[in-house]
Subunit: 354 residues, 2 copies
C-alpha cells in the first residue's frame, strides 16, 4: 500500500453506517501503552527508538490482525506523505513533525491503527462509523490482547498502565465521538449543551485539532479521566451523555421545522447548490456547506448525497489529499480550485447513481 | 385579454434577440403628445379626462396597428391589476396611484403601448429587444403618424410638441437603453463610465424606478434633451454613446478573464446554483444572481439558461406578478417562497429542454 493509493481510499469509519449515523459520524477508542524497562520515547535515544519500531513490527507478525496491517514508516517518508496520514487521523501532528524512528501500522479499511513512538511507545486506536463506542473498544481491546502476548507492558498495580503524560495514566483509554450538531448550533443552544457535557467530566472540542475553531458544526466529545473508572465505566458514561446530546439535537431539529421550515430548507438546498456549482472553495467553506447538506439528508429534506460520500469528502478536501488528487504541487489558490472540481465530480457521480 | 392572462405572457421585448442582447436588454422610445385645445390632464376636469379616453379609443379604431391593441382601463381595475401593468412597464407609478379616467392601449406582444391621461394626454411607447433604438423609433413614429390623422396635436412652430412638463417639450422624445453592465461594476469602473455618459448629455439611472438603488447591474441610459436636436440626432447620439459603453463593458469582461478567471467562473456558477436551489429569495437577490448568470451566458461560461428566460423572469419575479403566479394574496415572506418556486420551475423547464 503506497500513500498515494491510501489517499484514494474511503476508510471503513467513513461509510455512514452504525446507529445514529446522521448525528454521530464516528466512534473512536485509543489506548496508550508503553513497554516495561524501555525509556519513554522522548527520553530514549535514537537506537532505542529504532529498535522499538522493529520490536513492534516483529510482534505484529505473531498477530492474526496485525500481520495483515500496512506499515508506514514516518522516518522514511516525505512531509506530504505524513500529512496524508495525519489528515486520515492515522498519525498525530507530533509524529508528522518529528518523523524519524516512528511509524504506524494500519489495519484493513483503516479500522484500527497503531502509532509507534509518538508520545507513548504505542498508541492503539480503533474507529468505527456511527454511534458504537463499544465496538471500537472491543476491537482495540482484542489488538491490545494480542500485543500483550509479545510485550511486557509498563504497568503498576496501583496506577495501572504507565504513560509518558500523567493525564493518560491508568486505563490509558480515550474514547471519543465525532458528533454533528447543526441543530443545536442553529437554535443557539450549543454552548449551553456543551457546558453541560463539560460539567459531567467530558471534554469537548471542535473538529479541527487542538483548540482551533469549530468548522462544519462538528464536535468531538471524549472522556477526561483515565485513572479510576474502569474501561467499561468510561465507555458507558460517554454513551449515556452522548444519548442526551443526541436527544437535544433531535429536539432542536424539530423546533426548526416548526418555527422556520422554509428558511431551513432554503439553507440546506442552497448549500447543496453551492457544492454542486462552486469553482473555488476553501476547506472551511466545504465543511460548513457539507454540514447543511448532511442535516438535509438526515432530516429527509434531501434524498442525496449519501452520508458516506460527505464523510469521505471531509477527509479528501484537506490539503495533502487535494494535492494527491491534482497529482502536482499546488499553491493555496489552486488548491481551492481543485477542491471545488473534486467536490463537483464526486457529487455528480453520486447524483447519476441515484 | 385579462390582466391575469397578460401576467403570464412573455412580451416581445424580453425575447433576448437583437444586436448585443447580452449587454443591451432592450431599447425603448416614448413620445409625449397632447391634443390641441384640451387642457393638460392635470388641469382638465373629470369629464374632460373621461372624454379623452373615449377620443383615443375611437381614434384607435381607424388605425391598422391600434385597432388590434388591447385596452386596459386603469379606472376600472383593482390596484393589483394596475401593479401588473406597471411591473410590465406599460403604465407609470402615477397612473397606478390615480387610476381613474386613464388607461393604456397595448399592442400585440407588448411591442408598443399608449398611456392615456398620465402626465400628458398621450404617452406613446415602443420597446424592442436588444440594441435597436432605431427600430423602436420607427415603430412608435408610425403609431404617432396614425394618431396624428385623427387628432390635432398641441404643436408650436417654435417650440415643437407642447407637453405638461417643460422637460419634454420639443420632440417629446425619450429614447432609452436598458444596459447590463456587470463587468464594469466588477472591475469598479462603472462610476467613471457613467460619469462620462452624464457629461455628454445623457441621463443614467438604475433599473428600479425613480432614484432608487441599482439592482442586477442594470442601468438605463437615455437622452436628457428633448428640445433642439431632431429625433434622429437624439437616437444617433444615444447609439454612439452606448456603443462606447458596450466597448468598455467588453474590455472589463476580458480583463476579468485575464486576471481572475476562476473567481469569475465561481461567482457565475454559484449564482446559477443558488437560483436552481433556493427555497426563499427576494426580488433584489434574484436580480443580482440573474445578473451573474446572464454574464455567464454572455461570456460562454454557461450554456443555459436562454437570456429570454432571464428577461421574462426579471418581470415575473415582481410582487404583483408573483401574486398572480400563486393565485392568492401573499404576505412578503410567502412571496419570497413562491418566487423561489417559480424561478426553480422555469429554470428546470429550461434545463430539460436543452
Amino acid at each position: 500500500m503506497t500513500i498515494d493509493e491510501l489517499s484514494r481510499l474511503g476508510a471503513g469509519w467513513l461509510d455512514g453506517t452504525g446507529e445514529a449515523g446522521d448525528v454521530v459520524i464516528s466512534s473512536r477508542v485509543r489506548l496508550a501503552r508503553n513497554l516495561a524497562d524501555v525509556p519513554f520515547s522522548h527520553q530514549a535515544d535514537d537506537a532505542q527508538n529504532a529498535s522499538m519500531v522493529d520490536l513492534v513490527l516483529n510482534a505484529g507478525q505473531n498477530s492474526t490482525q496485525l500481520s495483515k496491517a500496512w506499515f508506514f514508516d514516518t522516518g522514511d517518508s516525505e512531509m506530504s506523505d505524513r500529512q496524508v496520514l495525519m489528515e486520515r487521523h492515522l498519525i498525530s501532528p507530533t509524529l508528522v513533525k518529528r518523523g524519524n524512528h516512528g511509524g504506524v501500522l494500519v489495519g484493513e479499511d483503516e479500522r484500527f491503527s497503531v502509532m509507534i513512538n509518538e508520545e507513548d511507545h504505542l498508541r492503539l486506536q480503533a474507529v468505527v462509523s456511527g454511534f458504537q463506542p463499544l465496538s471500537a473498544w472491543e476491537l482495540i481491546n482484542s489488538i491490545d490482547d494480542e500485543f500483550s502476548k509479545s510485550f511486557s507492558y509498563a504497568f503498576d498495580d496501583e496506577w495501572g498502565y504507565l504513560t509518558a503524560c500523567p493525564t493518560n495514566v491508568g486505563t490509558g483509554l480515550r474514547a471519543s465521538l465525532l458528533m454533528h450538531l447543526p441543530g443545536l448550533v442553529l437554535v443557539q443552544s450549543i454552548e449551553q449543551v456543551l457546558r453541560g457535557v463539560g460539567q459531567v467530566g467530558l471534554a469537548v472540542r471542535g473538529y479541527y485539532g487542538e483548540g482551533s475553531e469549530v468548522v462544519g458544526n462538528l464536535f468531538q466529545i471524549s472522556n477526561q479521566t483515565t485513572l479510576g473508572p474502569s474501561e467499561m465505566d468510561i465507555i458507558e458514561n460517554l454513551q449515556k451523555v452522548a444519548r442526551q446530546v443526541m436527544d437535544y439535537e433531535k429536539d432542536a431539529r424539530e423546533r426548526m421545522v416548526k418555527d422556520a421550515q422554509a428558511q431551513l430548507e432554503d439553507k440546506i438546498w442552497r448549500a447543496y447548490g453551492l457544492l454542486q456549482t462552486a469553482r473555488v472553495i476553501s476547506a472551511q467553506e466545504f465543511m460548513n456547506l457539507a454540514s447543511a447538506v448532511r442535516l438535509g439528508v438526515g432530516m429527509g429534506i434531501l434524498d442525496s448525497p449519501e452520508p458516506a460520500l460527505l464523510n469521505r469528502l471531509m477527509i479528501a478536501v484537506q490539503p495533502a489529499h487535494i494535492k494527491r488528487f491534482a497529482g502536482q504541487p499546488l499553491e493555496a489558490d489552486d488548491r481551492d480550485v481543485w477542491r471545488a472540481t473534486m467536490v463537483r465530480e464526486r457529487l455528480g457521480e453520486s447524483d447519476s447513481s441515484n
